[in-house]
């Protein structure tokens, strides 16, 4: 069991291209930790550095109290599961799973016992004698996972393991992976670009963008208290709405003002802003479920024009155009309907997020 610590880790590629910038993370023993971000955010580079497949340009990587920077992949006792499975096509399922054990010079009896254990664990005992070529994607990934867990690695690394599977199978594999992790208790790092996967599976999530760590936190934390505009916009489906506006204070009260609306901030939010000396130009962020819609004006509501109504069965997504020409997406009751160009009245509910327009950091957390 292993605690994994990255201290100020950098990955600088040829031509001074920065892949990962000053990354510090501590992954606790037995944790299922997700690295989340769009492609090119540095999550895969980070994973490959942890595996030892790429050199760490600067910084330190610790497995418990061992500095592993200069250890080869095979000396780190990490196992990896790949998006494209990366099975050895010329070996049978059995031999694929047995492969890492054979390299460790284990006895045939021991190998057989472990391979059968892993296969049974994953429910693929029937597949053992088969060649890997004919297997389905889900079966291949099960073999890939079998090969990874069979030697009980210190750290299990998963690189988009279920991205290649079709949607229904992906949902089932998500559950199976969570179940597998809870039974094995191996420290696991899970790389994905899919926020749904990260939210559903991980104990904690590190959100990355453009090589930089944006935020580390539990799924709840990154959802409810996004530290940056990027995190706010990346996590959640449908995504957070943003509007340019200006901060103003009148009689000790804080207001966010835009051409379309003027919203009074809660006392808690106002307290956070007391010490804010930055630009008054900010961005307001609000999630689709935190806006209420009515057909008639109410207190502190403002008008907007219906753009499209999209019924989804369990809910309806309403997109509206504000006076400032910004498009907002709102979650409303499933039976809600309003024709295009109809005027509706919106009211923001807490939590409201305010982001610095230049630094894009959340001013309220």
């Amino acid at each position: 069991m292993t605690v994994l610590t990255l201290k100020n880790v950098w990955k600088i590629y040829e031509g001074n291209v920065i892949g990962v910038e000053d990354l510090s993370i501590r992954v606790e023993d037995g944790e299922l930790f997700a690295l989340l971000g769009p492609s090119g955010c540095g999550k895969s580079s980070t994973l490959r550095m942890i595996a030892g497949l790429e050199k760490i340009s600067k910084g330190e990587l610790w497995f418990d109290d061992v500095l592993v920077n200069d250890l080869e992949p095979r000396e780190r006792n990490v196992a990896m599961v790949f998006e494209n499975y990366a099975l050895y096509p010329y070996l049978s399922v059995y031999e694929n799973i047995a492969f890492p054990l054979r390299l460790r010079g284990m006895s045939q009896v021991e190998i057989d016992r472990k391979v059968r254990w892993a296969a049974e664990f994953l429910g693929i005992t029937d597949l053992l004698p088969m060649r890997v070529r004919g297997l389905s994607g889900g079966q291949m990934q099960a073999v890939g996972i079998g090969r990874a867990i069979v030697r009980q690695p210190a750290v299990l690394l998963m690189d988009e393991p279920i991205s290649h599977l079709e949607a229904r199978q992906r949902a089932r594999m998500r559950e199976e992976l969570v179940d597998l992790h809870s039974q094995l208790g191996t420290t696991t790092i899970y790389v994905t670009h899919d926020q749904v996967e990260a939210m559903a599976m991980a104990h904690r999530i590190a959100v990355m963008n453009l090589g930089k760590l944006q935020q580390v936190g539990t799924p709840k934390e990154v959802y409810n208290q996004p530290h940056t505009k990027f995190v706010g916009g990346f996590i959640g489906e449908p995504p957070m709405n943003f509007a340019n506006c200006e901060l103003s204070s009148e009689n000790g009260e804080f207001y966010v003002v835009s051409p379309s609306f003027k919203v009074k901030l809660s006392p808690q939010a106002a307290a956070k802003l007391e010490n804010y000396h930055g630009d008054a130009q900010v961005q307001l962020g609000i999630r689709p479920e935190n806006i209420s819609v009515s057909m008639t004006p109410t207190e502190s509501s403002f008008a907007a024009k219906v753009y499209v109504t999209e019924p989804q069965g369990d809910r309806t997504l309403l997109s509206v155009l504000l006076d400032s020409n910004e498009l907002f997406l709102i979650e409303v009751a499933p039976d809600f309907f309003a024709p295009p160009d109809e005027t509706v009245y919106l009211k923001f509910n807490e939590p409201i997020h305010l982001f610095d327009r230049v630094e894009e950091v959340n001013l309220l957390y």
């Binding site: 992949p73 196992a79 990896m80 998006e83 390299l103 090969r147």
Partner: protein, 293 residues
């Protein structure tokens, strides 16, 4: 989309016969074309084969002699009396050594090109390819001087190294595309599973490009076997490969066509046999990209 009722109407027997006829016609035409192509390629070779079994008078006759009693005299004269059978061995030594050398150097180089971040990689790669494009004559003179200085002239080393100038780029170029087709994750898996970088290359990746190596080696052997210029100018009588010795049968009093053809026939047999024996590997190697994964 409208559905034409005729689409589902049963086909009349007359129409059926017409379709069958035209299908048969296409089949016959394709046979005919194939036969023509085969004849086109086979004719010169058969011609050479037949001349090898004719006497000088039959060869030189102004009318083509269609029927004759085959003679083995040309073969006996050129292979045994002139002792040219040794040249086949020379060719074998040169071709096999050159190709072995190129595979041993070229395959790891190709792997490095495929996997490692080498500064200026693509420029290096195209530079190597350019060597392959240079005409042999361009290098002949410099190589002659170089080998003379190194006291390699007249040894097997000279043609072997000279053949590497065109075989090595070929090996690197083709093998790189084979390696590029193997997902890099295979390497990553093997390395985390317990192999060192070298072991990963040798035991995890090489088995996947086996048929590619066979195909590349076979082509290289053919190039080397058929090479003429370097074999002629960089060797002595004792080390000359067979292809380069054929001009010695052009004599002041006329060309010994019978012996030329006998020698040419003998010289092409080993390669023909090799291709025949490795046919399946060859096809698999060449269609590699289509079956990756």
């Amino acid at each position: 989309m409208s559905v034409n009722a005729q689409t589902f109407a049963p086909i009349s027997s007359g129409r059926k016969a017409a379709i069958l006829r035209s299908r048969r016609l296409v089949t016959w035409l394709s046979y005919l074309l194939t036969a023509l192509l085969v004849a086109l390629f086979l004719f010169p070779w058969l011609w050479v084969l037949s001349l090898g079994f004719k006497t000088r008078a039959e060869i030189m006759s102004p009318n083509i002699v269609w029927f004759w009693t085959p003679t083995l005299n040309n073969y006996i004269e050129v292979l045994i009396n002139k002792g040219y059978w040794r040249l086949i061995i020379n060719s074998l030594i040169v071709a096999v050594s050159a190709v072995a050398l190129c595979i041993i150097i070229g395959v790891p180089t190709a792997y490095a090109f495929s996997r490692f971040p080498i500064p200026g990689k693509e420029s290096w790669f195209y530079m190597i390819l350019t060597f392959r494009m240079a005409p042999a004559v361009v290098l002949a003179l410099p190589l002659y001087v170089l080998f003379a200085r190194a006291k390699l002239l007249g040894t097997f080393g000279a043609p072997i190294l000279a053949h590497c100038t065109f075989t090595l780029p070929f090996v690197i170029w083709l093998m790189r595309s084979f390696f590029d087709d193997i997902p890099k994750e295979i390497d990553a898996a093997a390395m985390t599973d317990g192999y060192s970088r070298w072991e990963t290359f040798l035991y995890a990746v090489l088995p996947l490009v086996k048929s590619g190596i066979v195909a590349v080696a076979l082509f290289s052997i053919i190039f080397s076997w058929n090479e003429f210029l370097y074999g002629l100018i960089l060797t002595s009588d004792a080390t000359r490969p067979v292809a380069s010795q054929i001009p010695s049968l052009i004599r002041p009093h006329g060309t010994l066509w019978g012996e030329v053809c006998a020698l040419a026939t003998t010289a092409s047999l080993p390669v023909a046999f090799l291709i025949f024996a490795l046919q399946r590997q060859l096809v698999r190697g060449l269609s590699f990209g289509a079956i990756k994964g």
